[in-house]
């Protein structure tokens, strides 16, 4: 279980400010909230009226043995039944509406915020964490807010109405009932809290058990080769044993709670029976009224239990609430200045008419950058690239070559120095302006669910089918696409899972081409793909780069060879720079890197080729 998963189970004190913020999400659904509360109040009233009618029947019909008014009685009862059923429908439907609405709104706002947050946020926040906020947390909070309102309204409603009516009928019996209220409430609160704490413990162990199964199944083959079965099983039985213990302990409190509360409630019932019976004998309390009181005393602990449950639930959801609010209130580190926003618009409402064209001249002016304080990745880096040139960046993992590209794309901004595009600091233009002129192909191509056509169109939303197919032809993707049963309308599966890596790469090239960008960034793949695809991708790259300012994080020799300038980066500094031929002649780092790769690539081709030749 990760530290983040651990966090799911922390418990914090209820902070009303957090809930106030969440409660503001009910505002757009005022009508439904009002309907829910109204219906709930009626239901609470009906729950008191029911026993009353029962008692009334005793006094009016049974005791005197008469039938007068029976018709009316039935009619009123039926009307009440219809009203109460309608109210039940109304409150469930409306509370469901509020719940779904709040959940929808929280997700909408979070998603909106996520589109604005900077890469620095994504670097330190795992996708799983964000997903958990967006899925389970938000639905749980919506559930808590909507149904707590229902329970609260019914609980208080029922308690107030029944107490008031009891006081009206018989203040002595009402006082008896009132007396057990404080211990009942205290007990309920204590127990609900305990129960929830234990349940959380059980959930925590549950997720550890899932983790253990996950590891047991994923690692089964390794376990076999290490003959670790008995050791693993021993550990697992300890885990499943403590799960059993915890679950039983949690159930213990639940099992204890109801009997205790009911016994406490029965004190009231017993007292009412005794005192009420005495009043029947001495003070002329009617039997109907006695029955009414007995019924209420029986039902009285329900609202207390509900209210105690709400408090426990609020406490339980506090952490989730804080996390969601935290996400919503997160401020993006990179944002456009108000002047820029005013002139060029934001990412959702761009003012394209004011956008200047981008020709592709790029200048890094004494740029420094650090992801974390004190860990300089790039220092005083300067570079001038005339429009249309291809720059290849070469270096080991962590050398800073990806940082240069990230800065160029304005995924991060320099901590010192400036980056100029067409001679202007890019912070004086909107982010969307730069991104709309950018072609970007990732090392691991990311596709979206949908058809191949939709994925290519991602580069240019208003691209015609003709444009899409032209782009696909240009990168040489049309061959495999036309072999697919549905051609361009073939769904690629979740994340492109139905296509091979090479095919995905070709589509991501086509996607970049259809955008016709002035700037092109290529984070080239190292993963081995079959030779045939490699040749095709190579051809695609050459076509894509023609006439565009390009930055390439290069691994493949052929791409490097043709670049206008190759820069070897080490620890944030350029240690060698020049054309392929110049660098080879220099016999330095580049030479070593190149020759090593050369042998490896040939070797791979030989071993794979031999297999292909013989089978």
């Amino acid at each position: 279980m990760s530290a983040i998963q651990e966090e799911e189970f922390t418990q914090s004190k209820v902070q009303w400010s957090t809930w106030k913020k969440l409660l503001s999400y009910t505002r757009p659904h005022r009508r439904s909230v009002a309907m829910t509360l109204l219906a709930m109040a009626v239901v609470a009233m009906a729950d008191v009226v029911g026993p009353y009618l029962n008692g009334y029947a005793i006094d009016t019909f049974i005791t005197p043995g008469r039938w007068d008014g029976m018709g009316w009685y039935i009619a009123i009862s039926l009307v009440l039944i219809v009203i109460s059923s309608t109210c039940v429908f109304t409150f469930i439907y409306n509370a469901g509406h509020v719940e779904a609405g709040i959940c929808h709104d929280i997700r909408r706002d979070s998603f909106h915020r996520l589109q604005e947050l900077s890469f620095s946020y994504y670097d330190k926040t795992p996708v799983g964490y964000i997903m958990a906020r967006m899925t389970s947390d938000s639905s749980r909070l919506a559930d808590t807010v909507a149904w707590s309102l229902v329970d609260l309204c019914w609980g208080f409603g029922f308690m107030v109405i029944s107490l008031v009516s009891m006081f009206i009928f018989n203040w002595r019996l009402a006082l008896v009932m009132l007396a057990i209220l404080p211990p009942l409430t205290a007990l309920s609160l204590i127990f609900q809290k305990r129960i929830l704490t234990h349940q959380r413990n059980v959930r925590k162990l549950g997720s550890r058990i899932t983790g253990a199964f996950n590891e047991g199944i994923m690692g089964a083959r390794t376990t076999k080769t290490l003959v670790r079965e008995d050791g693993n099983f021993g550990e697992f039985t300890r885990l499943s044993g403590s799960m059993r213990e915890s679950a039983i302990r949690a159930a213990h409190y639940s099992a204890l709670f109801m009997p205790i509360v009911m016994t406490l409630g029965s004190l009231a019932t017993g007292a009412v029976l005794w005192l009420g019976g005495w009043q029947v004998q001495v003070m002329g309390l009617s039997l109907g009224e006695l029955s009414f009181f007995l019924s209420l005393s029986n039902m009285f602990f329900e609202p207390v239990r509900h209210i105690a449950m709400i408090f426990a639930e609020l406490q339980n959801s506090q952490a989730a609430a804080e996390r969601v609010i935290g996400l919503l209130e997160n401020q993006p580190e990179i944002s456009d200045t108000p002047e820029v926003l005013k002139r060029f618009g934001d990412s959702f409402e761009p003012k394209r008419e004011n956008w200047p064209p981008l020709t592709g001249e790029v200048t890094f002016e004494n740029v420094s950058f650090q992801y974390k304080q004190g860990e300089k990745v790039l220092e005083d880096f300067s570079l001038e690239v005339p429009a249309g040139q291809t720059i290849a960046l070469v270096g080991e993992t962590g050398s800073g070559k990806s940082t240069i590209v990230n800065l160029l794309c304005r995924f991060y901004e320099p901590t010192a120095g400036r980056i100029l595009i067409d001679g202007v600091d890019y912070r004086e233009r909107s982010q969307l302006w730069l991104h709309s002129n950018l072609g970007y192909v990732l090392q691991s191509p990311h596709l979206f669910s949908g058809t191949i056509r939709e994925n290519i169109r991602y580069g240019k939303l208003d691209a015609t089918d003709e444009e899409i197919e032209r782009a696909a032809r240009l990168v040489g993707a049309d061959g495999f696409i036309s072999r697919l049963e549905k051609g361009y309308d073939t769904p690629v599966g979740e994340g492109g899972s139905r296509l091979s890596t090479g095919e995905k790469q070709l589509i991501s090239f086509a996607r970049a081409i259809v955008a016709a960008p002035a700037l092109f960034v290529l984070d080239e793949a190292t993963s081995s793909i079959d030779t045939e695809t490699e040749v095709r991708i190579q051809a695609a790259i050459e076509k894509v780069l023609a006439g565009r300012t390009s930055f390439i994080i290069a691994h493949r020799l052929s791409t490097i060879r043709n670049a206008d300038r190759i820069m070897v980066i080490e620890k944030g500094r350029v240690i060698e720079s020049g054309t392929h031929r110049e660098l080879l002649a220099a016999r330095g780092h580049y030479y070593e890197l190149y020759t090593n790769q050369f042998v490896e690539e040939k070797e791979r081709a030989l071993l794979a080729g031999a297999a292909a030749g013989q089978s």
């Binding site: 029962n54 019909f61 049974i62 039935i74 109460s84 039940v88 439907y93 469901g96 779904a100 929808h104 997700r107 909408r108 589109q115 890469f119 994504y122 996708v127 997903m131 899925t135 549950g206 058990i209 199944i217 390794t222 076999k224 080769t225 290490l226 003959v227 079965e229 050791g231 099983f233 697992f236 499943s240 799960m243 159930a251 639940s254 099992a255 204890l256 109801m258 009911m262 029965s266 017993g270 029976l273 005794w274 019976g277 029947v280 004998q281 007995l294 794309c409 991104h435 709309s436 950018l438 991602y458 994340g495 080879l584 050369f598 070797e603 030989l606 071993l607 297999a611 013989q614 089978s615």
Partner: protein, 604 residues
């Protein structure tokens, strides 16, 4: 089919049956006391206040008469009050006992299911895990177990409770007034049937919402993992629009689901209240006409009230039972898959002997053989390197050496003993293998390296790590050897993982070591250091090395060249570079580099 499943269910309950026996008994007593409460009230009213005869078993009646009868009771109304509290207290005791034993039973069943699954999964053959759908297996081990557990902890006892309550209510009410009983319970079959219908229907609705939920998750997940693509193409607005469609879709579908629920609960509420009203009216009729007493009237109304609300859950229990049986079937299916065994009379001979492959043929799943009549001998203590084309069967040889698979034809002997007669655990303990993409457990680095040891000695771990060129890397971590690996802690690079795997294998002191391309992700420099460390350490250990790096291969005592499942060449480095073949072609790449470079420089 269902009968078989019920039998399996009974099997899973072993060790917990006693708990359930107590739980059922407690449930019976709980409901008896619960049903006693309205009887106390009705008798107080009838007997104590209204002077009607006492409705109780004869011996209780006699006893009360002996104490002074109705007048005494009327003077001391605290007696029924206290009695009521006592009955409630007793009910509480048994209710607690019921809850407690049910949870003990359910958790015992769940634990034994989990343990059996975990144990069995580990003992299933290697091949099973190669083909297994991990997600599905995890689902069975977690969600399905949970479904069964929940049935045992909640629905089972609810069903018992319902049956007990119905029987008690029928018994008592029929003894009071049979016809009135009929009127009072007339709608119950209808309520149960409609609830069952509803809960069946609602499953489909849930599936619809779940599907929409899944779609929304996909949209989110793709947006988040593809955040670079989204930003680089400036598609924030497009993404928001796409998300909004999915978000609205699930909202509307959830609302439709609640409407369904609202309709069900309100209409079933109505039926229940109507049944209560019928009871009340009929009761009034009979009571006013003197056919039943006021106390009886109270009893009827109380029992019907107590019975009707839980009856609604009965439909749910029945529909959940179907789901539980399906989940149990899925668990049983895994447990039914035969586990691996070492055959009759497994032996544990010494493994540090000559290894002979004698015309070994092997293919996965009756497909075309991967190895064809492969024969070679490896002397004890010899280091043998394997070079082969992609898919030539190098790794398969390693699988056979650990008996992860057995040869189809021919035989493999170690010191003259056919390995099919050797105990698998023994063989695997003596033959260490380092896979190309090793799996590390999510524990500390120390625990990973010492995973096969009963007690972990720090010195040994550091020693093994040093051989694998890992020690310095680990020392740089903030927590050193206590650094957690994987999801919970640091993410190791491919090369680092390989080195942990090497360390955890060499710490075992095996007789045979196999490196299945295990240094592919390590740079050539580190590779060389590790190899020299290993050479120093593995004196006398038979070693297999699969690699395509000539520098690695040439150090071996002997090199085997495999092509398409056949042994095409074998010999020392010197011998092979003087013979035409795959090995020389690979080796000559290095030599031809200089010439190629010259050509390169000119061609640019």
């Amino acid at each position: 089919m269902n009968r078989y499943r019920l039998k399996a269910l009974w099997g899973f309950m072993s060790g917990a049956r006693m708990y359930y026996l107590i739980a059922v008994a407690s449930s019976l007593l709980t409901e008896c006391f619960a049903f006693a409460m309205p009887l106390i009230i009705s008798n107080t009213v009838d007997y104590g206040l209204n002077g009607k005869p006492l409705r109780a078993p004869a011996f209780i009646a006699q006893w009360i008469e002996g104490l002074g009868g109705a007048p005494m009771l009327a003077r001391n109304l605290w007696i029924p009050g206290v009695l009521l509290v006592c009955v409630m207290l007793l009910q509480g005791v048994f209710m607690f006992l019921r809850g407690r034993t049910v949870s003990m039973g359910a958790e015992t069943v769940a634990r034994s299911m989990r343990n059996r699954l975990y144990d069995h999964l580990q003992r299933l053959p290697y091949d099973y895990h190669v083909k297994a759908e991990t997600g599905d297996l995890i689902q069975r081990s977690t969600t399905d177990v949970e479904t069964v557990r929940r049935f045992f902890s909640a629905q089972f006892i609810q069903a018992v409770r319902m049956i007990v309550m119905l029987a008690l209510a029928l018994g008592i009410l029929l003894s009071i007034h049979p016809l009135m009983t009929l009127y009072s319970l007339a709608l119950i079959p209808f309520i149960v049937a409609s609830c069952m219908w509803f809960f069946k229907r609602i499953q489909k609705q849930f599936a619809v919402v779940e599907e929409a939920d899944g779609h929304l998750s996909t949209v989110m997940q793709e947006n988040l993992t593809g955040v670079r693509v989204v930003r680089a193409f400036g598609r924030e607005r497009f993404e928001l629009a796409k998300f909004s469609v999915a978000n609205r879709d699930i909202r509307d579908k959830s609302i439709r689901l609640t409407r369904f629920f609202a309709f069900f609960w309100s209409s079933s509420d109505m039926i229940v209240i109507i049944q209560q009203l019928v009871t009340l009216l009929v009761g009034v009729w009979y009571a006013a006409s003197g056919a039943i007493t006021l106390g009886d009237y109270i009893v009827f109304n109380s029992y019907v009230g107590m019975l009707l609300w839980p009856v609604r859950q009965f439909g749910r229990v029945l529909s959940d039972m179907g789901r539980m049986l399906i989940a149990m079937g899925r668990i049983d299916e895994v447990l039914k898959t035969p586990a691996e065994d070492s055959g009759d009379d497994p032996q544990a001979p010494p493994i540090d002997r000559d290894i002979v492959f004698d015309r070994v043929t092997f293919g996965y799943d009756d497909k075309e053989p991967v190895l064809r009549e492969l024969s070679f001998t490896v002397k004890a203590g010899e280091t043998v390197a394997l070079l082969g084309t992609t898919g030539s069967g190098k790794s398969t040889i390693m699988h056979l050496m650990q008996r992860l698979y057995d040869a189809d034809e021919g035989r493999i002997t170690i010191g003259g003993v056919d390995i099919r007669r050797i105990d698998k655990a023994h063989l695997r303990r003596r033959v260490g293998i380092v896979l190309q993409e090793p799996f590390l457990y999510s524990r500390t680095i120390r625990e990973n390296i010492g995973i096969t040891k009963d007690s972990i000695c720090d010195e040994e771990v550091a020693d093994a790590a040093r051989v694998a060129c890992l020690h310095d890397v680990v020392e740089e971590f903030e927590k050193g050897y206590d650094t957690l690996v994987g999801e919970r802690g640091v993410t190791l690079s491919g090369g680092q993982k390989q080195r942990v795997a090497i360390a955890r294998t060499i710490i075992r002191d095996c007789d045979v070591l196999i490196f299945d391309d295990s240094l592919s992700a390590v740079d050539t420099h580190t590779d060389a250091i590790i190899r020299s460390e290993l050479r120093r350490r593995r004196k006398g250990i038979t070693t297999f090395i699969i690699s395509h790096r000539i520098s690695t291969l040439k150090e071996a005592d002997r090199i085997l060249v495999l092509e398409d499942g056949r042994l095409t060449q074998q010999g020392t480095h010197e011998e092979l570079i003087n013979t035409d073949g795959l090995y020389r072609r690979v080796w000559s790449l290095q030599a031809s580099l200089e010439a190629d470079m010259e050509r390169e420089a000119i061609s640019v």
